[in-house]
C-alpha cells in the first residue's frame, strides 16, 4: 500500500489518526484524497478545528465544493423529474444523487458528477425523446460509440444539457447485456423505494449490489476507494439482522454473489466495516484488488501500470465475451493513436 493511500484510508476509518501528521504527510494525504475524489468526504469526517490552519482552509474549500455539488446534483435530478413527469414512467436515482436525495451517510461530502437514473427498458425511446426535447444533447458524435452504446450497453449514450452543461446517464439495467451475470432489472424497479416526489431510489440490498457492480465493472477500478467508501457507509447504515440475509439473497438473484461478497470483504478489510462472520470467507484474489485500490501516491499518481491494465481488461471481461472484447479494444486502441 502506498504511504499516501494508507494515510487516506486511515484518516477515513479513524479521523483521530491525523493528529500526529506533519506537513509532508498532510500534503500527501490531501493530494491523494483529491485524486480519489474523497476530499469532500474527508472534510466531513475530520474535525477541522483540530488540524493545522492551512489544512483547515483546504478542507473548508472541499466542504463548500461538496455542498455546491450536492445542490447542483439535486437540482439536476429535479430538472430530469420535470422533463420525465408527463411520461408517467418510474425514474430511479442511482449512485451519488440517490445518496444525497435520500439523506444517506454515503452522500455526506461526496463528490457527484453526472446524474444517473434507471428507467424501464421499454420506455427508453420515450425517455430519450423527452430529454432531447427538454434541452439535453448527445455528447458522442462518433458512429461506432453511438452504435456500441445502443446495441450493447446498459445505458443510453451520455447526454449533456446545453444550458447547464451537466451530463445524464440513462440506465435500463446495471450491467451491460453482454455481461455474463444478468441482473433482474424489473426487480430493481419493482422494489425501488419512492422518495415522495415522483423519484425513487433502489432498495437497500439493490443499492449495495449496484455499488459493487459499479466498483468492479467501471473501467480499471479507478476511483475504487470512493466507491468502496460508499459501500462501507451503506453497509453501516443498513446493518441489521434481516439485512445481511436479504443482501445475500438479492446478490444471488442478480447473479452477482461473487462481486458483492468481494466488495463487502474489501470494505471490511480497508474501512473496518462491521460484517457478519459468514461473509469473511477470504479469497486469494482479494489481495490483488486491495493492491489496486490503494495505488495512489502523494503526488496523486497511480503507480503499477500493469496492475491497472490488468484491471481494465478484467472490467471489460466482466462486460463482454472474448471475441467482442478483442474487437472493442482494437477499435479503441486504433483511435487512441
Amino acid at each position: 500500500m502506498s504511504h499516501a493511500a494508507r494515510l487516506l484510508v486511515a484518516a477515513l476509518r479513524d479521523p483521530t489518526s491525523v493528529a500526529t501528521l506533519g506537513a509532508d504527510d498532510w500534503t500527501a494525504l490531501l493530494t491523494a484524497a483529491r485524486a480519489e475524489r474523497l476530499i469532500g468526504t474527508l472534510a466531513h469526517r475530520l474535525d477541522t478545528r483540530a488540524v493545522p490552519p492551512g489544512v483547515a482552509r483546504i478542507l473548508a474549500d472541499a466542504a463548500e465544493g461538496a455542498a455546491q455539488e450536492r445542490r447542483a446534483a439535486l437540482w439536476e435530478a429535479e430538472m430530469a423529474r420535470r422533463a420525465l413527469a408527463p411520461l408517467g414512467v418510474p425514474v430511479v436515482l442511482l449512485k451519488g444523487t440517490a445518496f444525497v436525495a435520500a439523506g444517506l451517510d454515503a452522500g455526506q461530502g461526496r463528490s457527484i458528477g453526472d446524474l444517473d437514473i434507471l428507467v424501464p427498458r421499454a420506455d427508453l425511446p420515450a425517455v430519450e425523446a423527452a430529454l432531447l426535447d427538454a434541452g439535453w444533447e448527445w455528447v458522442k458524435d462518433d458512429a461506432y460509440d453511438d452504435a456500441y452504446y445502443r446495441r450493447w450497453m446498459h445505458e443510453l449514450p451520455p447526454l449533456i444539457h446545453r444550458d447547464r452543461d451537466r451530463m445524464i446517464d440513462v440506465h435500463h439495467t446495471i450491467l451491460p447485456p453482454t455481461a455474463r451475470p444478468t441482473p433482474d432489472a424489473a426487480a430493481l424497479l419493482a422494489d425501488a423505494v419512492p422518495l415522495g416526489n415522483g423519484l425513487s431510489i433502489l432498495s437497500p440490498a439493490d443499492m449495495i449490489v449496484h455499488a459493487a457492480v459499479h466498483l468492479f465493472g467501471d473501467g480499471d477500478l479507478a476511483g475504487g476507494l470512493r466507491n468502496l467508501w460508499d459501500i462501507d457507509r451503506l453497509l453501516r447504515e443498513y446493518d441489521g439482522t434481516d439485512f445481511w440475509a436479504a443482501l445475500a439473497a438479492r446478490a444471488g438473484h442478480h447473479q452477482l454473489r461473487r462481486e458483492v461478497g468481494r466488495a463487502v470483504r474489501l470494505a471490511h478489510d480497508l474501512y473496518a466495516t462491521p460484517i457478519p462472520p459468514n461473509w469473511r470467507v477470504r479469497r486469494g484474489a482479494d489481495a490483488l484488488y486491495r493492491r489496486r485500490l490503494v495505488a495512489r501516491d502523494g503526488w496523486g499518481r497511480q503507480p503499477y501500470p500493469f496492475t491497472r491494465l490488468g484491471f481494465y481488461v478484467r472490467s471489460h471481461w466482466l462486460r463482454m465475451p472474448p471475441a467482442m472484447l478483442a474487437r472493442h479494444l482494437w477499435v479503441k486502441a486504433r483511435r487512441a493513436r
Partner: protein
C-alpha cells in the same frame, strides 16, 4: 516526484513537481525571491510528467496534470517546460480555487485603488498592466484578479507576466527586462516579465477596485460606458469559478458591477493606450 519546487504567490501555495530537472530550474529562476513553502501544506499541486514512459527521454514531451484536471490539455516539448509549469499553475487555480471570485483580468494599483482590465488573449490586458507597472503602478497580476468574497477587495496574484509576440518588444522598448523568451509555443512567442520587488513584497496587500476596463488593442480610440448588466454577463464569461461558487459568486460579482464603473475602450497602440488609461483613471 524527482524534482519539485513549492512557492507562494499571493494567496496561493503551489507545489510543482516534475520528472525533469529543467522546468523546475527555470521556475526557481523566474520566481527567485518569492516566498517558498517550508513546513506548509500547499493549496494546489502541479505535475509535469511524460505522457508515455519513453517520452521521458525520447522526444521528451511534458504532460500537465495536478489536483484538478481537464481532458484535453495538450503536452508541450521539454524546451517549453516553463510554459508547462505556468499553464499548470493557471489551470489548477482556474479549476480548483474557491476562496475568491476569479476573473480573467490584469490588475494594477495606484493610490490604494485597483484598475482591472478584462479581455481575451490579444486584447492587450497583460501588456497594458506591465507598461503601467513600469510607469510606477503596483502590479497585482496579469492573469487572474482575485476578488475577495467578503469585501470585494482585489488580492494580488503577482505571477510573472506572460507577454505574447509583439508585446515582448513593446515592454522592452519601455525599459522592461523580459526573459526567458520561448519561441514556437502554441501561443506563439512568449516572454516572461518578472514583477518589480514591491509587487512581490506587497503580495498580501489587497485594495478595493476603482475602475474596470475592457481594452481592445489595435482599434481606433474609443470609450464606451458599459451598463452593469452587460458588465455582469461579460464577467461571468471571464470568470473560471463563478458557477462553482454558487450564490457566493453571484453576490461578489453583483457587488463588483454595481460599485465599479466599467468602460469598453479601443486603442491603436501602447502609447495611446497608456495615455487613455491615465486620463480615464483621473476622471473616474
Amino acid at each position: 516526484m524527482r524534482h519539485s519546487h513549492a512557492l507562494r504567490i499571493g494567496p496561493v501555495g503551489f507545489r510543482v513537481g516534475s520528472t525533469w530537472r529543467a522546468p523546475i530550474t527555470a521556475l526557481r529562476g523566474l520566481y527567485a525571491g518569492y516566498p517558498t513553502l517550508k513546513a506548509e501544506v500547499p493549496d494546489l499541486t502541479v505535475r509535469l510528467y511524460p505522457e508515455r514512459p519513453w517520452r521521458r527521454w525520447l522526444r521528451p514531451s511534458v504532460a500537465i496534470g495536478g489536483d484538478f484536471w481537464l481532458p484535453d490539455a495538450a503536452p508541450l516539448p521539454l524546451a517549453q517546460g516553463l510554459l508547462a509549469a505556468e499553464m499548470g499553475m493557471n489551470l489548477q487555480v482556474a479549476l480548483g480555487w474557491r476562496r475568491h471570485l476569479l476573473l480573467h483580468c490584469s490588475a494594477v494599483e495606484r493610490d490604494g485603488r485597483v484598475l482591472l482590465m478584462s479581455g481575451a488573449s490579444g486584447s492587450g490586458k497583460s501588456t497594458l498592466a506591465t507598461l503601467l507597472a513600469l510607469a510606477g503602478w503596483r502590479f497585482l497580476g496579469d492573469e487572474f484578479a482575485f476578488v475577495a468574497l467578503d469585501d470585494g477587495a482585489i488580492h494580488p496574484f503577482p505571477r510573472a507576466a506572460s507577454l505574447k509576440n509583439e508585446a515582448v518588444a513593446a515592454v522592452r522598448a519601455a525599459g522592461g527586462m523580459v526573459g526567458p523568451v520561448l519561441a514556437g509555443t502554441p501561443k506563439g512567442t512568449i516572454g516572461y516579465w518578472r514583477p518589480p520587488e514591491t509587487a512581490i513584497s506587497r503580495m498580501t496587500d489587497a485594495a478595493p477596485p476603482k475602475l474596470l476596463l475592457f481594452p481592445r488593442f489595435g482599434e481606433p480610440e474609443r470609450v464606451e460606458t458599459m451598463a452593469p448588466s452587460e458588465t455582469f454577463v461579460r464577467l461571468t464569461q471571464a470568470s473560471t469559478n463563478y458557477v462553482t461558487l454558487g450564490q457566493t459568486g453571484f453576490s461578489a460579482l453583483t457587488r463588483l458591477v454595481q460599485t465599479v464603473p466599467a468602460l469598453a475602450i479601443g486603442y491603436p497602440d501602447s502609447a495611446a493606450g497608456l495615455a487613455l488609461v491615465e486620463r480615464l483613471w483621473s476622471a473616474a
